[in-house]
Symmetry: C2
Subunit: 210 residues, 2 copies
């Protein structure tokens, strides 16, 4: 039996407004696919309880983070409450070269930066099923002030039109269906002729004795 190999993996960026359900969907997605890795962010904040360097985050000093930024080693970055977060290019290069696909779940602004620095990525917009559901999800996170909630909601409202910059759209009304669609997108992208080593495959086929 000859197996069809891919030339390399790809980066799949899953984005959408706050409250669209990116985290839940993306965590479930990893359970349903082989040959997949999650992108690991670099951050200047100290590790929280149970957080492992290189697994949950790459914990780096502020100097190191700035160095990475200046050397073009980050696909995107942002500062939240005084801590910097960014997506290292090197992990994605290394992992896709080894034939794995990398999932990156990130907000709209981050995705925009990633697109400019890694245009070969596949960009999926996760769409909330209704504004009521979006409002509920933002409100019940329980970690934001009333002001922060209404700012988030306003931003999500404005970010809906960003979908037109994406390759695919998935409406997150039912978790199982949304994950199934995301899985389908990855399986389909893996099946693209341009991504597969078909010269090698056909050579092997024809070399077999019948």
């Amino acid at each position: 039996m000859t197996s069809l190999r891919r030339k390399q993996g790809f980066l799949i960026v899953i984005s959408g407004p706050s409250g669209a359900g990116k985290n839940t969907v993306v965590n479930e997605l990893g359970q349903r696919l082989d040959k997949i890795r999650y992108s690991v962010s670099a951050t200047t904040r100290p590790p929280g309880p149970g957080e492992v360097d290189g697994v949950h985050y790459n914990f780096v000093t502020c100097e190191k983070f700035q160095e990475m930024q200046e050397a073009g080693e980050l696909l995107e970055w942002a500062t939240v409450y005084g801590n910097s977060y960014g997506t290292p290019r090197e992990f994605i290069e290394r992992t896709t070269t080894r034939g794995y696909d990398v999932i990156l779940d990130i907000d709209i602004q981050g995705a925009r930066q990633v697109r400019s620095r890694w245009p070969a990525g596949i960009f999926v917009y996760l769409m909330p099923p209704s504004m009521g559901e979006l409002w509920k999800r933002i409100r019940t996170r329980g970690r934001d002030s009333a002001d922060a909630i209404s700012t988030r909601f306003k931003l999500a409202w404005d970010e809906l039109e960003a979908v037109f910059d994406y390759d695919y759209v998935v409406v997150n009304s039912d978790l199982d269906e949304a994950v199934d669609s995301l899985r389908a997108i990855i399986v389909a992208e893996r099946s693209k002729v341009a991504r597969c080593d078909l010269l090698g495959f056909i050579k092997n086929l024809k070399g077999q004795t019948v």
Copy 2:
């Protein structure tokens, strides 16, 4: 709940060498998807037992067939043992306009004709898992002479390189996996931003009371 509508359906052409397993895969595929129709061929041959006009084939006279050909109403055609077969354009136009996707399973030469007349189609190449398996499948059809079998096998051998003209490739080593990949390709294509009525969707979302 707002649902995301597509602007229209698409034509998905599933092709591959004789013996790749097109029929089996395509029949199973229809069971796993909604909003799908099979293309119905026009033919000049008389109906066989149990064959229903408009369901299994459109049975037409030779004059009518030639008329359709000359009027550009066929996406492809071929003559086999003195009978003509062709794919009517009108059914695909009408069905995709109504939001259904149309599956057409066809040989490599037919697919080539369809591509030139319906370039918006999605073209999937079904690849045999090995030449031994291909040989076995061609040989055990039980409807061909030894000469016909070896001609078919030689043609299949030569047609492997046609895969480079296709969008997607699926290796048919395991029926269930092959059907799953085909289903994934259709689900993914349906999720493309360019195919969805997102202006309408977002307008509906924003018109909801929260």
